[in-house]
């Protein structure tokens, strides 16, 4: 309830920009906020805290006895669970392997779309398609592309005389790279759109002035374009890293973690632990470890961002 009183106190007292109508507000905000606040507390904040608590219990699905506190036993078990750490490693390879090419390709596309090219409208329209498609359909579609017999990829390779092709998604060596390509394809639109919007905020005069001064394309990019889009680029990359590390549906449909666990992302691992084997407590502990990993990665990333900001 402290936030309630605090909000009441500060609402009329903060005459910042955009708060002018607040004076006559009275109890307005509470009436406006509650319809969203209650579901957030009951179905998001509450369950998250509950989930963290579950990690310290032996909760299981369909268990008749009472659930007991077991302290950090789940985490100790997790520490020695080599399968989980292998999955965790795959998750990191996947998240970085998707995010980096995604960013570079999206940056290239955004720079192209920012130019005055013909066919730009078509590229803009097409760039959106992967964004609108259900993830499950993206997975199904690429299964068909990768299909050893009727697939587009092997057919193209055969046409180019590059061998008879292979079964990409079941090969131990090719499965993870093949899945990463799909991840890049699926996530490119959001990144492109964000970067393109950043580019459109770049002052054009600066660009022209730099060109008049004889700066080459690369120098113009480094000194004019990049500083302008840097905040957007950092924000979207941070989000992509998180989203990719937590992704599930694509790989579930493409390989379901196979072959031999080579593409078993941490989310797939935790899902199986919770809903195939019913180990709720243990799976919740995995979730906690994933949150911790993401938080640390974000902290490092943001610290780097602030330092970089000082230099600029």
């Amino acid at each position: 309830m402290t936030s309630v009183t605090e909000a009441r106190r500060s609402a009329p007292r903060a005459p910042g920009p955009g708060t002018a109508p607040g004076r006559a507000l009275g109890h307005g905000p509470w009436f406006l906020v509650l319809p969203a606040l209650i579901p957030i507390l009951v179905l998001s904040v509450g369950p998250l805290l509950y989930g963290i608590l579950l990690a310290f219990t032996d909760a299981q699905s369909g268990r008749t006895g009472p659930t007991r506190w077991i302290g950090t036993l789940n985490f100790q078990d997790l520490l020695h669970d080599t399968l989980f750490w292998e999955s965790f490693r795959i998750g990191l390879v996947w998240a970085v392997g998707v995010t980096v090419p995604q960013f570079l390709l999206a940056l290239g596309l955004a720079l192209l779309l920012h130019q005055d090219l013909k066919l730009r409208w078509l590229a803009r329209a097409l760039a959106i398609v992967p964004w609108a498609m259900p993830e499950v359909v993206v997975g199904i579609m690429w299964r068909i592309v990768y299909n050893p017999d009727a697939g587009l990829l092997n057919e193209t390779l055969r046409d180019l005389g590059l061998g008879g092709g292979r079964d990409w998604l079941s090969g131990l060596a090719t499965a993870l790279p093949a899945v990463i390509v799909v991840g890049v394809w699926a996530g490119m639109p959001q990144t492109t759109v964000a970067l393109l919007a950043g580019l459109q905020n770049t002052p054009r005069e600066l660009h022209e002035a730099a060109a008049v001064d004889g700066a080459g394309a690369w120098r113009r990019f480094r000194t004019v374009t990049w500083p302008a889009i840097r905040p957007v680029a950092l924000a979207i990359t941070a989000l992509n890293l998180i989203w990719n590390f937590n992704s599930f549906a694509l790989v579930y449909v493409l390989t379901n973690g196979g072959p031999g666990g080579r593409t078993r992302l941490p989310m797939l691992f935790a899902y199986e632990e919770a809903f195939r084997y019913g180990q709720f407590g243990y799976a919740a502990a995995m979730g906690c470890v994933m949150v911790a990993a993401i938080s640390i990665a974000l902290a490092v990333f943001l610290a780097g961002r602030l330092r970089g900001g000082d230099r600029a």
């Binding site: 605090e6 607040g22 307005g28 009436f31 130019q115 993830e135 199904i140 068909i144 009727a150 979730g287």
Partner: protein
């Protein structure tokens, strides 16, 4: 600024490569959906089916309860879109107009909620919904979708509210309009396009969603389209490509149509939300 001819050629080559990478998988899906089995088994499949057929679509409807699933998806997505926007709009208004501790906490939640793996959320939700007897039911799924769509809805709507000048509301207040009157007859009409765009986006997100539906819905008659689509893929990972492609193609159409309508507003809204946070 002049760009040299060779640079232009390079740019077009790059653009064409992007177009191919983005479009070919989808075109291949469409092509596969219209191919008869004999052509799918052929050693050299073609882009354009030599003998196009609708058999795959017929077979897809025979094999899986696609209509039922589409209806479930439609209900869940519509309900989630309407409810999330109805409850998010007033809150977004407060977040945009009042710099209270609550507004800051809500913004924090929007950001933090992106970082949590669904698995940490779904286990407790599964237990809670089970106690409420809402497991394996579309209303239970809608509850989850509403909360899941809220962060993005709040983000977008806050941006749209900020775009409405506070001076307009002040002017109405000076003219003697009450608080509610101002909201209803001044702010709401200006917000309407943004609200519609946000609702449609929430609709697509729910229509496309897979993970929560997979965990929460067990009975085939209650499952949504994405979950039913995965049933086309057998336990051994072997799938009948034709019907699979046909069903996947149909499931995508609503998302594509809705997205085409709102695309511009969504990109605008994403940034509007980002400008001042």
């Amino acid at each position: 600024m002049r760009t040299s001819t060779s640079a232009r050629v390079g740019q077009y080559a790059a653009l064409l490569a992007y177009l191919a990478f983005l479009a070919f998988p989808f075109l291949w899906l469409v092509s596969t959906a219209f191919k008869p089995p004999a052509e799918l088994a052929a050693l050299h499949p073609t882009w354009i089916p030599r003998d196009p057929t609708l058999d795959n679509f017929r077979q897809a409807f025979d094999e899986q309860p696609l209509l039922r699933a589409a209806l479930n998806s439609l209900l869940a997505a519509l309900a989630a879109a309407v409810v999330s926007v109805v409850i998010a709009t007033p809150m977004a208004y407060v977040m945009a107009r009042h710099r209270t501790a609550l507004a800051r906490a809500a913004t924090g939640w929007v950001v933090v909620s992106q970082a949590f793996p669904f698995v940490l959320l779904i286990i407790p939700l599964f237990l809670v919904l089970k106690n409420l007897r809402l497991i394996d039911s579309v209303p239970g799924l809608v509850l989850v979708y509403v909360v899941w769509a809220l962060p993005f809805a709040l983000w977008m709507l806050t941006g749209y509210v900020r775009a409405v000048p506070a001076e307009l509301e002040e002017a109405a207040a000076v003219d003697g309009a009450g608080r509610l009157r101002t909201l209803v007859s001044v702010t709401a009409p200006l917000l309407a396009p943004g609200i519609v765009a946000t609702a449609l986006f929430a609709f697509i997100t729910a229509w496309n969603e897979f993970f929560f539906a997979l965990v929460l819905l067990k009975t085939p008659e209650k499952q949504t389209l994405p979950v039913i689509l995965t049933h086309f893929i057998g336990a051994e990972g072997v799938a009948d490509l034709g019907p699979l492609a046909a069903a996947a193609f149909l499931a995508t159409l609503p998302s594509l149509v809705v997205f085409a309508i709102i695309q511009r507003r969504i990109t605008g809204g994403m940034l509007a939300g980002a400008v001042k946070s």
